[in-house]
């Protein structure tokens, strides 16, 4: 009797377990992304912009440490600080003063260097429209299951980012590039981080789905640099990226920290500028998005000894139907340049006065009529 109970219990358990495996298989194939890419761009050259290169290399270091391989990182550095003649410590780029952390190291693979970092190359990398001769290391070979991290730093303004002191990319261009990526199914989800002055203006015009954006400062604010190093003679890092790097140093590949923690990085007390973020285009709740979804390259590995029948697409269809509906909603064209809104926004005058010329003319008319009718000799009665 006992044996029978035990046996039935065991059988029930097995049955339950197998259906559980089916569930987890379903879950396994319904997860959002399967690979990670990173595009890290530093747009300014010259020795006194050392901190922009240090910014980009810090993010590169974090991203590599968390698992994204060099083959999936497109690193664009506009100038060579490590081998600049003015660098007192050649072949190093430091991000902390007193030279605690050398972010250049000996394992850096720069894909676009020096004058190759141009607006055109950047947009071609994003949209994939590269000439056939471009090597693999210079291509962003993402697919519709890729989560891409895009990090930009340099000098910027309201609505533009300066590339190499000679050209600019505007926020409209960037938004259109992302839309091209969406329509070519080149990303699953996109995290856009920008550390420049007035950085929030760069993500204002995005209209493609599944983009989350972070910026180091709002429109009208300057992003400030963090610390000068007297031995090297330049500022080493920008504040926002410095605190971002500090935050990322605590993240390990299995970390469960989510985007809400990232939004809290560098509050106004530390950054002086107000960092901003934009999540309205993102489908998932930011609280459920892990940092490692973008910064790391986490492979989901489940070991099972069961044989699983893959002919039935289990839950995937349900999920995909849901996501297709959501996609279908997003297919409508969003007004890129809301001209009509701009035109109708006339500033309202607080207190209304009739125009000055009108009053003057009116009184002149009254006076003229009066004197014409009654003659000038009545003037003395008035004054």
């Amino acid at each position: 009797m006992k044996l029978f109970h035990l046996f039935s219990f065991f059988a029930a358990y097995l049955v339950a377990d197998s259906s559980d495996v089916e569930n987890s298989v379903g879950q396994f194939f319904s997860s959002g992304h399967t690979n990670n890419w990173a595009v890290l761009v530093c747009t300014s050259r010259f020795w006194f912009n050392y901190r922009h290169v240090a910014n980009t290399l810090s993010v590169y270091r974090s991203v590599k440490r968390l698992g994204i391989p060099d083959s999936h990182i497109v690193l664009m550095l506009a100038d060579d600080m490590a081998c600049n003649h003015r660098n007192p410590k050649p072949a190093t780029v430091f991000s902390h003063k007193n030279m605690e952390l050398n972010v250049y190291g000996d394992d850096v693979e720069v894909d676009y260097r020096g004058y190759e970092v141009t607006v055109e190359n950047f947009l071609r990398v994003l949209t994939g429209r590269l000439p056939l001769s471009t090597p693999r290391s210079k291509r962003l070979l993402s697919d519709d299951r890729s989560n891409i991290l895009i990090y930009l730093t340099g000098h910027g303004g309201n609505g533009f980012l300066k590339f190499q002191d000679s050209e600019e990319i505007s926020n409209v261009e960037l938004a259109d590039a992302f839309e091209q990526m969406w329509q070519k199914r080149r990303y699953n989800e996109l995290l856009f981080i920008i550390d420049t002055c007035q950085g929030a203006s760069m993500y204002e015009r995005f209209y493609s789905p599944n983009i989350m954006a972070l910026a180091s400062s709002q429109v009208g604010e300057d992003s400030l640099s963090h610390q000068p190093d007297l031995a090297i003679g330049v500022h080493l890092m920008d504040r926002y990226t410095f605190y971002l790097l500090e935050f990322l140093e605590d993240i390990h590949p299995a970390s469960k920290a989510n985007m809400n923690d990232l939004f809290k990085v560098c509050p106004k007390s530390q950054c002086v500028s107000t960092p901003g973020h934009r999540t309205d285009l993102f489908l998932r709740d930011p609280g459920s998005v892990l940092i490692t979804d973008f910064f790391g390259s986490v492979r989901k590995v489940e070991i099972t000894t069961e044989a699983i029948n893959l002919t039935d697409p289990i839950q995937q269809q349900e999920e995909s139907s849901v996501s297709e509906d959501a996609n279908k909603e997003m297919y409508s064209y969003v007004d890129q340049l809301p001209v009509s809104e701009i035109i109708h926004q006339k500033p309202k005058q607080k207190d209304w006065h009739p125009p000055d010329g009108f009053i003057l003319g009116l009184w002149t008319l009254i006076l003229l009529v009066f004197f014409k009718t009654y003659g000038i000799k009545h003037l003395k009665h008035i004054f």
Binding site: P88, P228, L230
Partner: protein, 615 residues
């Protein structure tokens, strides 16, 4: 109808112009002078700020340690200098080579047009020694220069010592992106001119020099050191260069920024800044500082060894250490750190200094007046000349109704017009040419006939020619047939006024101070001279306002401003030496003040003198 094409309105405008001409001229003159004086008032000036992004803030760590060793080197240098009786070339070459520089020498020689009594030299032969510190990793395309003069006696030994100490320290650093040239020049400005001409392959002054064996790239900036004491109380920066050219204001800003950081007292024109700009004494202090700068700029001579670099578009300044009676002394290590900081910042430059102003006046080291603010002062003075010219034009076109012979006189006026203008013009310019050529070329004859030295002969010949020019009007009239006509002097005055306006305008553009000072004295003269003013009185006023007397008064004023007033006798000797230095500067370095005054300003003044004695 338009304002100017309607004959009624035009007549009204013209009559207003004729009636109000004199009052408007007086008003403009007063306004111009007031504007100029107001430039030193602090609320009207701007604070200096660093314009070049690459130089940023003073964010470097200066680590120069070897002030004591620099002093020991200075003493060695002094000993060798005394032993050799000039520049110790071999010792300098050996010492620079020991510090790891590439050392080269250049010898030069020059025979001055006449002996220089201030520095007691006539035939000058010398050697420049310079060492190049090659940038460890950079291509040899750009260079910075640090120079110290080798002066006779006990002067500037510490400057050379500091230069060698810095050379040793700089050689051990790897962050230099430009070559640094350490130059010790002999016979101060003459040696510097020879070196610069050799470096840039030009020969504008007729000096003989050996070509340079070693070169850096194009020079981006230069500093000249002048230190004659072991400790200093303050550092003075000298900016005025040849022909009144000034270096980019960023260089002065850099100097001031480092003075602030290191905590050294810094001055300009040797005067400390004051904080009480709203008090009378504070304002007069600023005015005096600005006037010193204006006078130094107007003289057109280089006031430091840096002055000759400016012509080649190299921003340069001289830093001189002053040791006065203050308690807090700064030692050589701190001065070395300041220079090191400045050079590290100049090292970061990617282009020549060009972001800040090239034309400015400084009433103090922290405030400046840019060309946009000081030019209207000169403009107001130039407007007087234009108004006068318009008035004369109106009078010429519609002659005043004072005909005695009626038709006959009108006919007569057209023909002597050109001749009566051309003759004074030619004769005045010939006198000017005589003033330019005769003093130097006829000095031997003068020395033969008079018991004076060559320098005095040159200057006294110049003064004699100048005075002889005053006798001209009587000669001109002998050439021109008959007395001058009414029309004639008006045409001559119109030409002279326009000539003066163009001359002063061009001068003010290049050297504002010279143009303004000349305008101050010559514009009233030019505006109000007619043959009808009382002759004796106006002749005296004329002579007082002539360029030569302006120079005499400026000499006295300059000495007064520097708190070293001179007696009449000494002032006259100083005046003579100033004239001789001016002539020498022209022949040695190409200064343009002497030819400008002799060939253009003086003939212009003679034209007005001619008009005064027209009848």
């Amino acid at each position: 109808m338009g304002l100017l094409s309607d004959p009624n309105r035009r007549r009204a405008l013209i009559s207003m112009l004729t009636r109000l001409n004199a009052p408007i001229c007086m008003l403009c003159y007063c306004a111009g002078v007031c504007w100029f004086m107001g430039l030193a008032f602090e609320p009207f000036t701007l604070r200096t700020y660093m314009s070049e992004n690459a130089m940023g803030s003073t964010m470097v760590e200066e680590r120069f340690p070897a002030g004591e060793r620099a002093l020991a080197t200075a003493r060695e240098f002094a000993a060798h200098k005394k032993k050799v009786g000039g520049m110790p070339v071999d010792w300098l070459v050996k010492t620079m080579q020991a510090r790891g520089l590439e050392v080269f020498t250049q010898s030069f020689s020059r025979v001055l047009p006449f002996p220089d009594e201030n520095k007691e030299r006539y035939i000058v032969k010398g050697t420049n020694v310079y060492g190049i510190l090659r940038a460890p990793r950079a291509p040899r395309t750009e260079a910075l220069v640090l120079s110290a003069p080798c002066s006779p006696g006990d002067n500037n030994n510490q400057a050379v010592g500091l230069l060698l100490g810095l050379a040793h320290y700089f050689r051990n650093q790897i962050y230099w992106a430009k070559d640094i040239i350490f130059l010790v020049n002999e016979h101060d400005l003459i040696g510097m001119q020879a070196w610069l001409e050799g470096y840039h392959h030009t020969n504008t002054t007729g000096m003989k020099w050996t070509p340079l064996q070693g070169r850096g790239g194009s020079i981006q900036a230069a500093l000249s050191l002048e230190l004659s004491s072991d400790v200093i109380t303050s550092l003075d920066i000298v900016l005025e260069g040849l022909n009144g050219q000034l270096p980019n204001l960023d260089l002065a800003n850099l100097f001031y920024a480092f003075c602030q950081k290191i905590g050294v007292l810094c001055t300009i024109q040797g005067r400390l800044q004051r904080n009480d700009w709203d008090s009378v004494s504070g304002y007069s202090h600023a005015v005096q500082t600005m006037m010193l700068m204006v006078m130094k700029q107007a003289s057109g001579r280089p006031w430091g060894d840096h002055g000759l670099f400016l012509r080649y578009h190299i921003e340069a300044a001289t830093i001189s250490g002053i040791n006065s009676f203050r308690q807090y002394k700064t030692d050589l290590t701190t001065t070395g750190r300041l220079v090191e900081g400045m050079y590290r910042k100049l090292n970061n430059l990617l282009e020549r200094l060009h972001q800040s102003y090239f034309f400015y006046l400084m009433p103090s080291l922290t405030h400046f007046v840019s060309i946009g603010y000081y030019m209207p002062a000169f403009g107001l003075l130039a407007v007087i000349l234009l108004l006068r010219a318009l008035d004369l034009w109106v009078q010429l076109v519609a002659p005043p109704a004072r005909t005695e012979d009626g038709i006959a006189e009108i006919e007569q006026q057209s023909s002597p017009g050109v001749r009566s203008v051309l003759t004074p013009l030619i004769i005045s310019h010939l006198t000017g040419a005589a003033l330019y050529l005769m003093p130097v070329h006829f000095q031997e004859m003068a020395v033969e006939h008079f018991p004076v030295s060559e320098t005095e002969a040159v200057v006294l010949t110049a003064i004699a020619v100048y005075t002889a020019g005053l006798a001209l009007p009587h000669n001109t009239h002998r050439l021109v047939s008959g007395e001058g006509t009414e029309q004639g002097w008006r045409v001559l005055k119109l030409v002279a006024v326009l000539y003066l306006a163009v001359l002063l305008g061009c001068t003010a553009l290049i050297n504002f101070s010279l143009g303004f000072i000349l305008a101050l004295t010559m514009v009233p003269v030019a505006a109000f001279v007619t043959p009808d003013v009382p002759k004796v009185l106006s002749a005296i006023v004329f002579v007082i306002l002539s360029p030569a007397c302006t120079l005499l008064f400026s000499v006295f004023l300059f000495q007064e401003l520097q708190d070293m007033p001179v007696s009449l006798q000494d002032g006259w000797m100083l005046y003579i030496s100033v004239i001789s230095q001016g002539i020498l500067d022209h022949y040695l370095f190409g200064s343009l003040v002497y030819p400008l005054i002799a060939l253009m300003v003086y003939p212009c003044w003679l034209l007005f003198w001619n008009i005064l004695f027209w009848k």
